[in-house]
C-alpha cells in the first residue's frame, strides 16, 4: 500500500503499508525521500551567515531556524544580547506562532472536525469550513494570518525568511509607530484565538463522537514528551530549558542547550533519508512507545504535557480546562494535539500583546557587538513542530567547522510512523479496507502538523494521497484515490 506523495519536510513523503497472510496490517513504513546536506555544506561558511542559510531548511517555519541559529551565534560568540533585543526576537517569534498555528487549524486540521471525518471529501476543506461557519470567518483567517506576518516583517525585515538575527541582538529596532501597529494586531489576534477555541468547543468538544474519537485506542500512543519551559516550568517557545517527562508524567530530564548531546541520539534506517532521534538514556528499541523505548514526541501537546502551566492568564485557564476534560497528565491522545495547538495560539497572541506593550520594546539598544573569539555554541527554540537544535563549531576566524541539526518534525519521525501504523491497524481488517481509511490515516499524520507538508499551509488543505493496497503476494488488491 503506497501513499505517495504526501507532504514534505525538505520535500515529499511516502507511506508504505504491508498486509500479512490474514489481510491485517503487518507493518507500516513512513519514508522521507529527500535530503539536502546542510550538516555538511555549511562547513566553511561564515558562521554569522547561518541564520540566513539555515532558514532555507524550511520556508514554512524559517523563523524557527533563524532564531535557533541566532541563539547559537550568541553562544558561539559568548555574547549576551540587550534585553530589548531578546524581547524583539520573542515578539517576532510569537507573531510567527500565531500565523503558523492559525493556518494549521483552519486550513489543514480543522476541516476534519468542523466538517467531520466522514464528510464528503469535496467539502472537507477550508472552502467547506467557510460554507459551514460563514464567509466572514474565512476572511478573518486570511486577515489574522497576514497581520501576524506583517508584525514578523516589521521586526525581521521580510515576511518569508527574516534577516534580523545577528550574534548579540537584532539588526534593527522598531519605531513607536510600528509598535502601536503590532499592539493593535496582537489585540485582535487574542480575540481571534478566543473565538477559535470557542469554535473548537462548539464543534468538537460538545460532540460526544469526536470526544470518543480523540480518546480512541488507535489514536493513543504513550511516549515520552519534550518541550522548552521557563524557570517556573511554564511553556516557552523562545527560551528556557528542555524538559522531558516519561509516559507517566514524571520529570525524566531537564537540560540547557549546551547539554543536548547527553540526552539525544539519532538512529539511522536504510529506507529513509530522515534519521530517528530518541532519548539516549532510554535507548533505541525500534518504533515502539512506552517507558522502555526512547521514542519521544515534541508537539504542542508534548509541550503542554511537560509544562506545569501557561505563562499568560487566558491560556492558563484553557490549559486547566483541557487537562480537566482529557486528563490526567500526560495526555497520550494524538488528536488532543489540536486542542493543545489552539491553547498555544492563545498564549502566543497574549505573549505578543504583552511584549508589544513592554516599555523597552522600542529601545534603540538592540545589539551588543561581540568581542570574544568565536568557538562553539548550541541554540534551541521550540519550533511549532518540535524542539529545534542548532549546534555549530567554528575556527578562530568564525568559519564553520562542524554543524549538527536536530530539526522540529524530525523529533517526531518515529512517533508519526507509529501513529500511522496504529491507525492503519485499527482500520484494515482481513484485507477489508474502510473507505474512511485515507482520511483516518491522514488524521493520525496531520495532528503532528508535519512540516513534510507545506500541505499544512495551503488551500484547500488536503494532502495529496494515494493508497495502493497489496496482498501478501504483493499484488495490487485495490486502489483508493481522492476523487
Amino acid at each position: 500500500m503506497t501513499i505517495n506523495p504526501i507532504t514534505r519536510l525538505e520535500g515529499h513523503g511516502k507511506i508504505e503499508i504491508f498486509l500479512n497472510d490474514d489481510g491485517n496490517v503487518e507493518n507500516a513504513y513512513f519514508q522521507v525521500p529527500e535530503l539536502r546536506g546542510f550538516e555538511k555544506f555549511c562547513e566553511g561558511r561564515l558562521v554569522e551567515e547561518m541564520p540566513d542559510i539555515t532558514s532555507r531548511i524550511c520556508g514554512v517555519c524559517p523563523e524557527a531556524h533563524h532564531m535557533a541559529a541566532t541563539k547559537a551565534l550568541d553562544a558561539v560568540f559568548h555574547v549576551d544580547p540587550p534585553s530589548a533585543a531578546k524581547k524583539l526576537r520573542e515578539l517576532l517569534y510569537s507573531a510567527f506562532y500565531v500565523a503558523d498555528h492559525t493556518t494549521h487549524f483552519y486550513i489543514l486540521a480543522g476541516p476534519d472536525f468542523i466538517m467531520g471525518p466522514k464528510a464528503p471529501k469535496a467539502e472537507r476543506n477550508i472552502l467547506g469550513v467557510i460554507n459551514k461557519v460563514g464567509l466572514d470567518i474565512g476572511s478573518s483567517v486570511i486577515k489574522h494570518r497576514s497581520d501576524a506576518l506583517d508584525a514578523v516583517a516589521m521586526i525581521g525585515g521580510r515576511r518569508i525568511h527574516p534577516t534580523c538575527g545577528v550574534p548579540g541582538g537584532v539588526s534593527k529596532s522598531i519605531t513607536e509607530e510600528q509598535r502601536t501597529k503590532i499592539e493593535e494586531i496582537a489585540k485582535s489576534e487574542i480575540e481571534f484565538a478566543k473565538f477559535t477555541l470557542k469554535l473548537f468547543d462548539d464543534v468538537v468538544l460538545s460532540n460526544k463522537d469526536y470526544v470518543s474519537l480523540i480518546k480512541s485506542d488507535f489514536y493513543t500512543t504513550p511516549t515520552y514528551y519534550m518541550g522548552l519551559v521557563d524557570d517556573q516550568n511554564r511553556v516557552n517557545f523562545y527560551d528556557g530549558k528542555v524538559r522531558v517527562v516519561d509516559p507517566e508524567g514524571n520529570e525524566f530530564a531537564k537540560y540547557g542547550a549546551a547539554e543536548y548531546q547527553q540526552h539525544l541520539a539519532e538512529h539511522v534506517e536504510p529506507w529513509t533519508y530522515l534519521k530517528f532521534p530518541y532519548l539516549k538514556k532510554v535507548g533505541w528499541k525500534g518504533l515502539v512507545g512506552g517507558k522502555d523505548s526512547g521514542v519521544y514526541r515534541a508537539t504542542p501537546l508534548a509541550r503542554l504535557n511537560v509544562a506545569e502551566g501557561m505563562a499568560t492568564p487566558l491560556a492558563q485557564v484553557e490549559y486547566k480546562r483541557m487537562y480537566d476534560t482529557l486528563g490526567p497528565k500526560p495526555i497520550h491522545s494524538t488528536l488532543a494535539t489540536h486542542w493543545a495547538r489552539l491553547i498555544e495560539l492563545l498564549y502566543a497572541a497574549e505573549r505578543m500583546h504583552e511584549l508589544s506593550r513592554d516599555p523597552e520594546i522600542t529601545s534603540q539598544n538592540v545589539r551588543t557587538i561581540p568581542t570574544a573569539t568565536p568557538d562553539e555554541g548550541v541554540g534551541i527554540v521550540e519550533a511549532p513542530r518540535g524542539t529545534l537544535t542548532h549546534h555549530y563549531t567554528t575556527d578562530e576566524k568564525g568559519l564553520v567547522k562542524k554543524v549538527n541539526l536536530i530539526v522540529g518534525t524530525t523529533n517526531n519521525h518515529a512517533a508519526i510512523s507509529m501513529s500511522i501504523k496504529q491507525a492503519a491497524q485499527g482500520l484494515i481488517k482481513k484485507g477489508e479496507v474502510s473507505d474512511g481509511l485515507l482520511n483516518m490515516v491522514e488524521m493520525a499524520f496531520r495532528a503532528y502538523d508535519p512540516c513534510y507538508g507545506c500541505a499544512t499551509h495551503t488551500l484547500p488543505g488536503q494532502m495529496p494521497l494515494e493508497v495502493n493496497i497489496y496482498n501478501k503476494e504483493r499484488a495490487l488488491l485495490r486502489k483508493l484515490q481522492r476523487p
Binding site: R8, E26, K40, C58, E266, T458
Partner: protein, 321 residues
C-alpha cells in the same frame, strides 16, 4: 475563451516559494478565478499519475520551484516540461541552485558520511546509509537517488522564463500572474518579476566613493542606516544582483546576499561581484590588495550563496576557488 491551465511544482527547495504564492491571499483568490490550476501537490489533490496521463503541452504554464538534487526532481522536471507550453523557473533554487546548491561545495559521499555517521548525536555502529532500494521483511522499499551535483532547472530541461528571488516577493508574483492572465508575457527567455537594473540602482542609501580599506563582517559593526553598506566595508551583493525585491534586507540594515541572481547581461554573479569589489579596494600596491582581500574568508558562500549551480565553476573541483 477557456481559462489558462496552470501547474505548480516543487523540487529541491524549502517550500518558501509555495508560501510566497499563498501569501498573495486575496490576490490569489482573484487569480484563481481566471486560471485553472491542474496540478499543485502542495495545495490541491492531484497525483503524479494525473500529470502522466495528460496530453503533451496541455498545461499552459507551469511554475517550477526548487533545484534538481534527486532522481525524482529530475523525473518531474522532464515530465512537466513535456506537458507544459510554458515552463517558468520560479525562485532562486530553480534558477541558480539556491542554498541547496551549496552542496556542490562538497560531495554526496561526504554529505552521507557527515549526516549518517559523523554528527555527534548519530548512533550508527553498523554504518547504515540510506539506499535507493532496500529489502525489508515485508517487501521492497524504494527512495529516489540523491545526486552528487545540484543542478538548475535549465541545466535539466528547457526553460521559457525565470522569476528570481528567495523567495520572489509578493508584488512581483502578483504582477507575473496578472501578465500571464492578460497574455502579456515578454519574449521567451526573459527574466520576469524583477527589475532590469541592479539592486544598487533601487537602493535608497547614499553612495560614497566606495574606497574599501578593510572588509568588515556583519557582526563587527552597527552600520549607519543612511550610508551604502559597501562604503562601510560590509560586503553587500547589490552591485552584482538584479533588483526588484524592494531592498528589504537593506532596509533591515543587513546586506544583500544576492538571492535575486545576477544583474542583466552577466553570466556569473560571483565573478561580477568579485570584480566590483576588488575595483573598490583602496590599495596602493599588491601587498595592500592582498591585505584587504584576506577579509574575504568564504568566497563561495559569499559571492555564490544562491547561485553556485549557475556559476562558471558550477561545483567545487579539486582546486580551491
Amino acid at each position: 475563451m477557456a481559462n489558462p491551465k496552470a501547474a505548480f511544482y516543487w523540487a529541491a527547495s524549502c517550500g518558501g516559494c509555495e508560501i510566497a504564492v499563498l501569501e498573495l491571499g486575496k490576490a490569489l483568490v482573484d487569480v484563481s478565478k481566471k486560471v485553472d490550476i491542474v496540478f499543485w501537490p502542495v495545495a490541491l489533490d492531484f497525483k503524479y499519475s494525473d500529470v502522466e496521463s495528460m496530453p503533451d503541452k496541455s498545461i499552459d504554464v507551469c511554475f517550477f520551484n526548487g533545484a534538481i538534487q534527486t532522481s525524482e526532481n529530475e523525473h518531474m522536471a522532464k515530465l512537466l516540461r513535456e506537458k507544459s507550453k510554458i515552463l517558468i523557473a520560479f525562485g532562486a533554487c530553480a534558477n541558480g541552485g539556491g542554498i541547496p546548491a551549496l552542496a556542490n561545495t562538497t560531495s554526496k559521499e561526504r554529505i552521507f558520511t557527515r549526516v549518517y555517521k559523523e554528527t555527534p548525536t548519530t548512533d550508527n555502529p553498523q554504518g547504515v546509509i540510506p539506499q535507493t532500494k532496500v529489502q525489508v521483511k515485508e517487501g521492497e522499499l524504494a527512495i529516489p537517488e540523491f545526486y552528487n551535483t545540484v543542478r538548475t532547472l535549465d541545466q535539466t530541461v528547457g526553460v521559457d522564463y525565470s522569476v528570481p528571488g528567495c523567495p520572489p516577493v509578493g508584488e512581483q508574483v502578483t504582477a507575473v500572474m496578472n501578465d500571464i492572465v492578460a497574455g502579456k508575457l515578454p519574449p521567451k527567455g526573459s527574466v520576469i518579476g524583477a527589475s532590469d537594473k541592479s539592486l544598487c540602482d533601487e537602493c535608497k542609501r547614499v553612495k560614497g566613493d566606495r574606497k574599501i580599506k578593510k572588509i568588515v563582517r556583519t557582526y563587527e559593526i552597527v552600520p549607519d542606516t543612511e550610508k551604502c553598506l559597501l562604503d562601510q566595508g560590509v560586503i553587500c551583493m547589490g552591485p552584482a544582483t538584479r533588483g526588484g525585491c524592494g531592498a528589504q534586507c537593506i532596509d533591515a540594515n543587513m546586506p544583500c546576499r544576492g538571492c535575486y541572481g545576477a544583474v542583466p547581461g552577466v553570466l556569473d554573479q560571483g565573478a561580477k561581484m568579485l570584480s566590483a569589489l576588488s575595483s573598490n579596494f583602496d590599495a596602493e600596491n599588491e601587498e595592500e590588495i592582498e591585505q584587504i582581500a584576506s577579509g574575504v574568508t568564504d568566497p563561495i558562500g559569499t559571492f555564490y550563496r544562491y547561485n553556485l549551480a549557475r556559476s562558471m565553476q558550477r561545483r567545487k573541483k579539486a582546486r580551491r576557488v
